[in-house]
């Protein structure tokens, strides 16, 4: 593998005192918060994965009873919820945190403490929704919580309380983070970093933040309705009072569909970083890539009802949503072709990161095509709520989002830790993952079209599904093995990986101009940016010569290939350089804690202990407000 001239890893410029638990609890450094996100999300990936393993074990053969019906229902609900809200979104957030400031040449995010707050709300909210499974009280209404099953009349237990409140909590985290990143990207780009010079990952992240701030309020409102129904006796989704379950479905999917693009676009962004680097060629059709991302996000708001073709919306609505859905295939296809064109004519190297990136292209396409197959209602009515759908969304989610994120992890691990992950183990991980993924999810196309419904904890023999299910289950175990290999590789490489240096892959963007791991302040000097590929301007000018740098500075490019690669200077501390660094603080964590306690009060209320519930809520609320006050009145840096 190409290790550029061995630059000794700059382990701890400026961060000698930044160790120990307390430093992690109080950090407001976007990089460390990114790492926290990464670890936490990987932990939940293990949880969600083990849930999947149990699911698949139960379904290995007909009429098994590995788990009970009720527990199975909790498993798939929590599996979906975990993977979506506690794994893929936070893994993306890990990269937003770590990379966006580095890619745009900033020293931190716009609101460092808000950033810490987002993380802690996520971490605590994740526990809030995950822990109940140990008491058999985990949410059991499906990840889309259809009313009235999720309401008080038919879902009267505690289970869906945790879901409603947990999602509400997680929403706070995502929203706070989104405002933060929008501001960061708009306002903290280094001089010369125009929008059209932003790295594609930052671009896709930018789009995603808008999807978050527009989609999450809708689910927030819907969850409030459900929450009020459950706790305060309102009638939003109560059938007897005339409540309309379809309102829940519409609100959920107005959120839910943009949500799936929230899950995939960051992975698209990561892949758009990995492919050019290892092809030694700039991204093909940069502008088109940026615009198609925007297009996907925008169209994503007009297609939600394709999840509801079976509810009987009438032919006009069915047709409109069907055609709108098909349209999304166009900008997505543009992305696929541009990626291939990026590689075409290049000089391709295949480290594990590249393999995963290519894997995404190959696998996502399968999921995308089955997606288009769902978009035609007459045909979807045979597919909806069967394993064919399960196949579709695992191809796009596992074959797309997770593969892309793996590509990102292998690619950026050297930047984050200063060391490479083992390529050898990585190969095993990749191939087992690739085979396991196809073995698990491809047969689901068959079981689905041969009539197997989703969300069934058992099925009868003789239905023609046995073989496919057995294949799926075997594939899952392969995936488990590959995941464990990854985990081992991940942890052992942190200490024992080969040293990586600043720019191990010969990549084009700013984050590679600084040491690995980067110093606390990122850039000793805020760089002046003159093109999309500053590092290539510097190191491989032939690759970028043909790209129109912005006309204003086209003339000065020669001397202004101006990204200095600071190797020595950045061994100095922030203090020595006179760079203000935000103070570490525990307050965001405390506010987050207050919020979670506040929400827990409602559970106590449901349990019927009114005084204790009031005490919990008032206590949590007061604690939150107090900590918030302390936060707002203390100086940032």
């Amino acid at each position: 593998m190409a290790t550029s001239a061995a630059i000794p890893t700059n382990a701890h410029a400026a961060s000698s005192e930044q160790t120990g638990l307390w430093s992690w609890l109080t950090t407001v450094d976007h990089k460390r918060i990114g790492i926290l996100y990464l670890y936490t999300a990987l932990f939940y990936f293990l949880v969600g994965g083990l849930e999947a393993v149990l699911i698949r074990t139960q379904l290995a053969k007909p009429n098994l009873s590995v788990v009970s019906a009720d527990f199975y229902n909790q498993l798939f609900t929590m599996h979906g919820t975990t993977m979506v809200f506690l794994v893929v979104m936070p893994l993306s957030a890990a990269f937003f945190n770590y990379l966006i400031p580095l890619q745009i040449g900033a020293r931190d995010v716009a609101f460092p403490r808000l950033n810490a707050f987002s993380y802690w709300v996520y971490a605590l909210g994740g526990l809030f929704i995950t822990l109940p499974i140990f008491w058999g009280l985990a949410p059991d209404g499906g990840w889309f919580g259809y009313a009235p099953l999720s309401g008080p009349t038919y879902g009267g237990g505690f289970n869906m309380d945790f879901w409603v409140l947990g999602l509400q909590i997680l929403g706070i985290s995502s929203l706070a983070a989104a405002f933060n990143f929008i501001t960061t990207i708009i306002n903290m780009r280094a001089p010369g970093m125009t929008l059209m010079r932003m790295p594609m990952f930052t671009w896709m992240s930018f789009v995603v933040q808008f999807l978050v701030i527009l989609a999450f309020p809708v689910i927030t409102a819907a969850l409030f309705f459900l929450q009020f129904d459950r706790f305060f006796g309102t009638h939003f989704f109560e059938v007897a009072a005339g409540g309309d379950p379809l309102l829940w479905q519409h609100l959920f999917w107005v959120f839910g569909h943009p949500e799936v693009y929230i899950l995939i676009l960051p992975a698209f962004g990561l892949v758009s970083e990995v492919l050019p680097t290892h092809s030694r060629k700039p991204l093909f059709g940069y502008n088109v890539m940026a615009y198609s991302g925007i297009m996907i996000g925008f169209l994503g708001f007009g297609v939600w009802a394709h999840h509801m073709f079976s509810v009987g919306m009438g032919p006009v609505a069915d047709s409109i949503f069907s055609v709108a859905t098909m349209l999304i295939g166009i900008p997505t296809g543009v992305k696929i072709f541009n990626w291939i064109a990026t590689m075409y004519g290049g000089s391709l190297r295949f480290p594990v990161a590249m393999k995963f990136a290519i894997g995404l292209i190959a696998m996502f396409t399968i999921g995308g095509i089955s997606g288009v197959m769902h978009s035609s209602p007459p045909s979807d009515l045979q597919q909806t709520d069967t394993y064919f759908i399960v196949a579709h969304f695992h191809y796009v989610l596992f074959g797309g989002a997770i593969m892309g994120i793996f590509a990102g992890i292998y690619h950026y691990f050297p930047k984050i830790t200063g060391r490479f992950m083992s390529e050898k183990l990585g190969e095993w991980h990749f191939w087992l993952n690739f085979i396991g993924l196809n073995l698990t999810f491809f047969p689901m196309h068959y079981s689905g079209m041969l009539g197997m419904p989703r969300r069934i904890y058992t099925y009868d023999a003789g239905q023609g599904w046995d073989l496919f299910n057995l294949m799926s289950t075997s594939g899952t175990y392969l995936l488990l093995v590959s995941g464990l290999i990854f985990a081992y590789n991940f942890f052992s490489s942190r200490k024992n990986g080969a040293p990586a240096g600043n720019d191990p892959w010969g990549a084009p963007t700013l984050e590679w101009s600084i040491p690995s791991p980067p110093p606390e302040y990122n850039f000793a000097q805020i760089p002046e940016v003159t093109s999309r590929y500053p590092m290539w301007d510097l190191k491989a000018p032939d690759r970028t010569a043909g790209i129109a740098h912005s006309h204003a500075d086209a003339g000065v490019i020669a001397e202004a290939h101006a990204v200095p690669v600071h190797e020595e200077t950045e061994r100095r501390t922030a203090k020595e350089l006179g760079i203000p660094i935000p103070f570490p603080t525990i307050k965001p964590l405390l506010v987050a804690l207050g919020i979670v306690v506040l929400f827990s009060g409602l559970i106590v209320l449901h349990a019927g202990n009114f005084p204790l519930a009031m005490a919990t809520m008032l206590g949590g609320g007061a604690f939150m407000v107090g900590s918030l006050y302390a936060w707002l009145t203390s100086p940032l840096e």
């Binding site: 099953l149 059938v239 379950p245 064109a341 035609s376 085979i435 196809n438 032939d542």
Partner: protein, 441 residues
Amino acid sequence: MPKLHLRRFAPAAALVVALLVLAACGGEYPNSTFSKHTELNEGAVFIWDRMMLLGTIVFVIVEALLIYTIWKFRRREGGPAPRQIHGNAALEITWTAIPALILVFIAVPTVRTIFENQRKAPAEALQVEVIGHQWWWEFRYPQYGITTANELYLPIGKTVNFSLRTKDVLHSFWIPQLGGKRDLISNKVNHIWFTPNAAMEPSALNGACVEYCGTSHANMRFRTFTVTPAEFEQWAAHQKTVAIGSPAAIAAAAAADSAAKAAAKSPVVKTASLVPTAAPALHAAPSSAPEVWVFPAEKIGPHAWPSTPLPAVAFDESVLAAGDAKAGRELLTNPANLGKAPCLTCHVIKGETNYATDDNARGPNLTHFGSRHTFGAGLFRADAKALALWIKNAPAMKPGSQMPSFGAGEYNPLIKAPVPAAAGLDDKQIADIVAYLRSLK
């Protein structure tokens, strides 16, 4: 190291593909969605085929381009430096336009079929009301006055218009072989219609609930029997009668007898147009209820015979064999036994004294229970053993079932306690009830 391990991957991939192809060719697929038994599904299959074709083309092109590219441009010692092309407007337009064009070929038949499928059903269609319950199906034939559960009879060659509603949460009605699904939604009546076409053999098909509806969603199945119109009429003529052995049946038989004696004409079903001319003879015999006709058990394929394992609850076979239908009827219908066997507070047996009506009954209508092949929403064969265990402890056989346990000493999850010995049914009583239920042809 940086070379593609295609070879390592190839055998595994080949194996998967081979297995899948084999799988798709051999074997029986009783729930396949690709059948052409109805016009509804023909439309679906037509679009599916087209999408499959176009999708495969797109897939092959993309993957071929991808593989070609990674093979051709892999880095080689002394290979050429990359050609630095960064974009190409003509290409961008091409790969925007071609997918758009492909989509037109999908969109047009899609919209056409949507409007076709959602036309109003023909007026002369057979009406069937489907009512979802957690976790069983109620079927009504309003034109015949029939209420039944979990087994659906459909005449071949005749359009059926289903109106779908639910008593509780959302469910979804699906018979994969006959067409797409439609949800049962609270506060709304949904519709779907199709015509099992004349070319279809009489057959037993599986159906399922496909909208997650709680604990036993997986156990909310049903059977559909497509039968000839003559058979259908025969079945229906019997199903609409009151229960065998009920006071109403005895009275009706007496009335019919005297009517026959008065040489009045035989009772003709309202929907005479449905009946092929030869059929009336089959049940025109005066002085008795129409003859029972059910879908013949021999014609039911293995896929439609449930093999759900029975719980390990003991039941003495000899006691079971000695069940007495008369005693069973007494247990169910004598108000004195209501404390022990409150069956008729939740179930309706037409002709007996019921405490529930069709509209507020919590359990399936049992009037002609003996003519069903399966029970518990398609979970169990309607044999004596399974039935006995069911009455003893239904929730142990079907998680979450809303039917309480009645066996003395059995745990009843609805009251979260065992049934007191005094209040519960002993095995003998259960055997009697089973005998009675099975006699309700």
